[in-house]
Symmetry: D2
Subunit: 283 residues, 4 copies
């Protein structure tokens, strides 16, 4: 007796005729019914991107076997993921809890297809929230002297818990270049401005000083080049002259949490692919 299972297939390769035909042929061979499919041909890079959601009674091995020759022929960057397996996610935070709260609440209600084996923070303030959601909380204080050790300990936790994604949920420490490189493509940060406006520290105060009429937040992949990583999502809200910089901070919490949650959701659903320094988001 077989039961049907759902998978997400993502792939990218150099564009040339025949890719869709070859992929759809392999999926047909593996007994797949396609339930969602998106593709994109990048005019800039000449790369082809595809995400397909399928259901099949034949299982992961059959699917991989059918796709393997196609992947070889087109030199694909191929991923096959069971849809019901949540992404193993480590969340880092500091003192402010709005982003953490949104992620944990949405994880619990099923909106975010992630599981969170561990939360890491350089402060103790958010331990009660982690406790409420039943997530182990590891306190790793960071000083200039201990920074290297702290990052080593983080990488140990990433390895020990088979972490696939690290989310910086208003974690207020700058990661070292080495750490950024080792987490490349699997770490998402929320910056509290509409990048590339107002990089660096105190972006809401910069925004206030410039007199902008919209403020925003940017979720992006972490790179060694600070605030320059590939952008996944951006959202803005309206402000006016009567709002102070402190009110910008308070109003911004909601848009930060929302923007980060969307980015994590799409990443966890395998909807985000990298096209050089830009993202393809199949949402």
């Amino acid at each position: 007796m077989t039961s049907t299972q759902n998978f997400i297939v993502t792939l990218s390769c150099a564009d040339r005729p025949g890719i869709v035909h070859a992929v759809s042929g392999a999926l047909l061979q593996a007994g797949c019914n396609i339930t969602e499919s998106q593709q994109f041909e990048s005019p800039e890079s000449g790369a082809f991107f595809m995400r397909v959601a399928v259901s099949t009674p034949e299982g992961e091995d059959a699917l991989n076997a059918a796709l393997a020759p196609v992947s070889r022929e087109f030199r694909m960057n191929l991923g096959v993921y069971a849809e019901d397996r949540p992404l193993r996610t480590l969340i880092m935070c500091s003192k402010e809890g709005h982003a953490l709260n949104a992620l944990l609440f949405q994880q619990r209600t099923g909106t975010l297809p992630i599981e969170v084996p561990v939360i890491v923070s350089n402060h103790l303030d958010l331990k009660p929230m982690a406790d409420f959601y039943g997530v182990p909380f590891v306190h790793i204080p960071v000083t200039p002297a201990t920074k290297a050790d702290a990052e080593a300990r983080l990488l140990e936790l990433v390895a020990a818990h088979d972490i696939e994604l690290v989310v910086l949920a208003r974690y207020m420490q700058i990661l070292s270049d080495d750490l950024c490189r080792s987490l490349q493509g699997r770490a998402i940060n929320i910056h509290h401005s509409f990048l590339p406006s107002f990089k660096g520290a105190r972006p809401y105060h910069q925004a206030y000083a410039r007199g902008v009429k919209l403020i925003g937040a940017t979720a992006h992949y972490v790179t060694a080049d600070l605030d320059e990583g590939p952008i996944i999502e951006q959202e803005v809200i309206r402000v006016n002259h009567a709002r102070t910089a402190e009110q910008f901070v308070a109003m911004g919490r909601d848009v930060e949490a929302r923007t980060l949650a969307h980015a994590v959701q799409w990443h966890a659903q395998r909807r985000v692919l990298l096209d050089g320094h830009r993202t393809v988001v199949f949402n």
Copy 2:
């Protein structure tokens, strides 16, 4: 010496395995390079929808020949369109010119892939604007006594000019059921409310009386059931207690024009397919 030509292929049929493989095979056979592709499997209706943009050196006949057996096999509703052929569009208007102005300006700048052989109005107010854009303007006054004749004359113009789309750009007459039926799927109206709120007359005044905080516009296909046609696009703008109903009207002009122009653009680009009473918009 051959030159490459661009086509849009749209199709819908009952969903079953193998559609994408068959279509992509036919496109490959016709020498097509896929430049854009979107598909959707409707969980409600069980129908499959697809829109593919391709370029090929082999021409329209080869493309049709390759797709014909696939279309038969899957009992498809199939359309093949040369991308550079603008949609023949008749615009109807009355006294207010904001929607007409947006359509004609965007047609001229190339944003809207339409050509406008004729404008029809029950008033003369907008004739100068039609003249400025060099579009023939036909004045068809409508009274209860002449309504049937007026509609007959409109249908003659639709036939004489090979019209593929009729756009009601704030045309302030209700079409008869018969006319609605004969234009089914090829007439787009802009309603000046966020449907299904505030159907019928004077929607901004209804909105003011109800004290809503957002007002909007809805572009939809015309059906005999007034203000109930399939929705193509909706947009809203924020209002507050200090705005009067008359200011709603003035503020609404911009959102009406924008919403209608988007709907016409997507229809003309063959991005809108009908899934029963709902629209699939591949944008």
Copy 3:
């Protein structure tokens, strides 16, 4: 030694010349420095509305004494509130926690100037969340047979805790007409649609069936006329054909929580005044 104290003054009355002069004179007499001021003359009702934030070293009695003759002269509906006194708020909920979570989190971070002495629910699901935030949780199950008793008990809690505002944070019971009347002007509900579209039950499923392109939420004062109370705030988010009704529900949680939190914030800051069936929102 005196210290400065902040107050909010709200007033409404029939419009006639001299109100602002009289009010500003009284405030000057009470040693007030105006830090924020807004006013509105309703062209519909002929009523005048004003909200002034002031700081003064002279205290609440002096302020009331200075305003009393003005209030009498213009037959004002006058309110004077210490700005640092949070609004005593009772939250009602059922099984879904997104709205409750937003309110409690924002209360804790100081965004919402409320205190919550008690949470009431007809289910036990959200007791752990109430516990986490340290708020007493009263379980009042409701059946057709016990509804009258349940509402009586609620009114006892309102009286016992000096409740100034009742928030229905996705409380899934319809209040009786009598209860609506006794809470008139001090109960806020969140409806999960862009009212007046999709009143009644399962609004997201109604929205899906109608094929709308935006879904939304409406925070409004509770009245005996269901889903017809004065609207405080509305927000929308974009959806498309590929989203199911269930996804509308999930996507809607965020906009519901945000819309309700905004309405509660503005009400608690005394920014919302009633102009017949419409609201004046000084934000």
Copy 4:
């Protein structure tokens, strides 16, 4: 027999107690009925800003006479304007007509309370549009050699036509520092990005390269410091990976035209006051 006339009064001065009382007293003395009033106390600069719309049977002289002593006492920057007198506006453009089209159309429908005695352009492309709207069109070509003469001729036109506002409606020449200074506070530009992101040339191509998910436009006062003038209004629209830089340009036209038209409307309605490098917008 007297008839009532409407005026806008704007003022700014150093904040201290008694301003509102003094102003409202003067307005009362001049027989004014206040129909709209807004004020703001800037916590940054310590300045007080006020805009009042009034109707009075007593005329402009009486109003000025009543306000004069108050203005002297508080050392106000005071403006008194007849509401029905449109702002004399010179529009500059180059080849692209979307911003000009929006301004002229909205002027004609009465949304923009401006009159346009003359349009200046360094190209002839938009002369037909000026002709259609019946506005004199002056062609002033600009080369490096003739730039100084061209700017001198512009200033002559500004003087000859009693121009109060110069609008750069996608005018593609950089103004000299001297010209910027002589138009300070009375020239509005539209920049085709969400400033301060993407200053300088080809902002949509910069935005594409950075992979942003929202693009926008900024209307600001012209200053000698390019793209750094006080911001009046900003708006954004959503883009995604599938849009090219050329499509950004096309999509951006609508948001540019809208943003500029809003800024011009608010400036013409005397709703925009300068608070150092930031704007107070009473809208």
